[in-house]
């Protein structure tokens, strides 16, 4: 066995990291320590993020982009400073960063803004492995406009089936995940973006599971749009990001409208500010932006390459540990090649809900169900699965706790 080879992660000082996350020291059911393996749903938050939000509220709280008083100026500085920090995190410019509520809203923004630019005969191309957030908005766009929804299928081992390519001259937009929230598969986004651009289509990447976990540079990625959520990358709830190439953002009409995004309002008509303000109506979520900037700073301090290496080591350990349990089937690739730190599996004879219940009883917090990716589960021939996802604070001991809990579940249910 190779398990012992990755029992230590050289890339991160996990003990020091864990000390920054107060929630990780609490006990859960039966007084057991918490093994939090559900960061794919939402990550935990370090003190640095909580402190950034608290400091904003205690020292600078005011509405950004309005008013002439000192606090208003400071709030604007905090908000625009967060935009600069996120832009630097992605290798983008601040004018290409739109703050949204979350990745879901970012994707909906693009889908609604495109309503006037597609119609019958046009095709929107997605994939079978999408989270519902990058699937339903495109179905809806097609229903509104008469465009046709098509998709890349997945191979039996959960990879994207790119041959033959379904991209044609009718394709107007390709929307695909940059890392599956179920199998962890990382599709070849740059290659698909190149083909899409040759066909004249724009590309949106769902980065909800990639931006928190691997170095992402928008120039290398090649996508025109990138959507992600703050709360999955150590940041607060209520803030997400849409990155968009400047020229494309300028070409899009607004999605949500109201204050803050206008130039001149008359009773008859309104003109709009340029991006990113055009897409940010209402008083901006400055405290959340401060928290998100602190999260990006925290991750940059660790180094995203180190984050990815740590997760790869945990993923390799989990794949090894689960593979040797009879009756366990890993969904998707069972090597760490071309995949990130999401490990979904089924246990023969035990429904995922029941697996999850036993895990919970032993202090292991994992996700059960279809993980908002119902079509992918159908394609892989399962109704639901159990999923463990890893992050900077997870340990190899927690991976062992997961495997032990799965073994206990088998014993408990007699399978």
């Amino acid at each position: 066995m190779t398990t012992t080879a990755h029992l230590n992660s050289a890339s991160l000082d996990v003990d020091a990291i864990r000390a920054d996350f107060p929630i990780l020291s609490r006990a859960v059911r039966n007084g057991r320590p918490l093994a939090y393996l559900d960061s794919g749903a939402t990550s935990q938050k370090p003190r640095q993020v909580l402190d950034a939000e608290r400091e904003f509220y205690e020292r600078h709280n005011s509405a950004a982009h309005r008013g002439t008083h000192l606090l208003g100026e400071e709030a604007t500085e905090v908000y625009e400073g967060a935009r600069e920090r996120i832009a630097a995190f992605l290798g983008a410019t601040p004018g290409e960063i739109v703050f949204t509520k979350n990745a879901t809203e970012a994707i909906n923004l693009v889908a609604y803004a495109m309503t006037g630019s597609v119609g019958p005969g046009d095709e929107i191309l997605i994939t079978e492995m999408e989270h519902h957030a990058n699937l339903v908005p495109w179905q809806q766009l097609c229903q509104r406009t008469g465009a046709t929804l098509r998709w890349f299928k997945v191979t039996p081992d959960g990879r994207l089936d790119t041959d033959p390519s379904p991209i044609t001259e009718r394709t107007k937009l390709v929307a695909l995940t940059h890392q599956s929230n179920v199998t962890g598969v990382i599709p070849p986004v740059a290659e698909i973006a190149r083909l899409a651009h040759e066909a004249g289509a724009v590309v949106l990447a769902d980065g909800a599971q990639s931006v928190p976990h691997q170095p992402v540079d928008v120039a290398t990625l090649g996508a025109d749009f990138l959507a992600f959520s703050g709360h999955k990358m150590l940041g607060p709830y209520g803030i997400g990001v849409l990155y968009g190439k400047r020229a494309l953002l300028e070409s899009l009409p607004p999605f949500l409208t109201g204050g803050s995004m206008i130039e001149v309002v008359r009773m008859e008509e309104t003109t709009f500010l340029p991006p990113p303000q055009r897409f940010e109506p209402g008083v901006p979520p400055v405290a959340q932006a401060a928290g998100l900037a602190a999260a990006a700073g925290y991750l940059s301090g660790l180094g995203m390459a180190n984050v990815a290496a740590h997760e790869e080591s945990l993923t390799a350990h989990a794949l090894d540990a689960l593979r040797e349990i009879p009756g366990v089937r890993i969904l998707g690739p069972d090597t760490t090649s071309g995949r990130g730190g999401s490990v979904a599996f089924e246990v023969h004879g035990i429904h995922p809900h029941d697996v999850g219940q036993v895990l919970d009883e032993l202090g292991v917090a994992a996700r059960t169900g279809h993980h908002c990716a119902w079509p992918l589960h159908r394609a892989l021939g399962v109704q639901a699965s159990t999923r463990a996802t890893f992050y900077v604070y997870n340990t190899h001991a927690e991976v062992d706790a997961l495997a032990d809990a799965v073994r206990y579940a088998k014993k408990f249910f007699g399978v």
Binding site: P352, H353, D354, Q357, E361, G369, H370, Q383, A384, F413
Partner: protein, 155 residues
């Protein structure tokens, strides 16, 4: 460990050997219910018998995909309602809903064990809010199907 309090032997027995499972004819109404959180689903048919007075639940048949709690609940539910007049069966259903809410509303009247019989085994499930929907899935499907079958009577 509290696992045993949720997974009572009665529940595991019904899960491994479900009663009345499989779709049968004839039937008066068929419904399909899902739990969108986990994807569990049940297709359920109800056949009512016209006895001149109040209709009686003649048969409940179902096909389902789901966890042990949802499967066992469908099995126990069909045992409890088949053969009962509709209003009496509805009383059992209401008692089961109360049982599932007993943790959230501890001051409410205690569930009637005589009415619930084997369904009392699900008392432990009420302590886990995420699993209550699993236990209720088949009951809700049965209530829906029965209501539709009753409407059909008046056509």
């Amino acid at each position: 460990m509290q696992l045993e309090s949720m997974y009572q032997e009665i529940i595991l027995d019904h899960y491994r050997n479900p009663h009345h499972k499989g779709l049968r004819e004839p039937f008066d109404a068929e419904v399909h219910h899902v739990n969108p959180v986990c994807g569990d689903e049940v297709t359920l048919r109800v056949a009512l018998k016209d006895t001149g007075g109040e209709p009686v639940v003649e048969d409940v048949s179902y096909d389902s995909l789901g966890c042990s709690i949802s499967q066992a609940s469908a099995s126990v539910m069909s045992d409890l309602v088949i053969g009962k007049p509709v209003s009496e069966a509805m009383t059992v259903g209401d008692a089961f809903v109360s049982l599932m809410r007993s943790n959230a509303a501890p001051d409410a009247a205690p569930p009637d064990e005589d009415v619930l019989e084997d369904a009392m085994a699900f008392a432990g499930v009420a302590k886990y809010p995420a699993r209550i929907k699993c236990a209720l899935l088949a009951w809700m499907a049965w209530k829906d199907a029965t209501a539709r079958a009753m409407e059909g009577d008046h056509d």
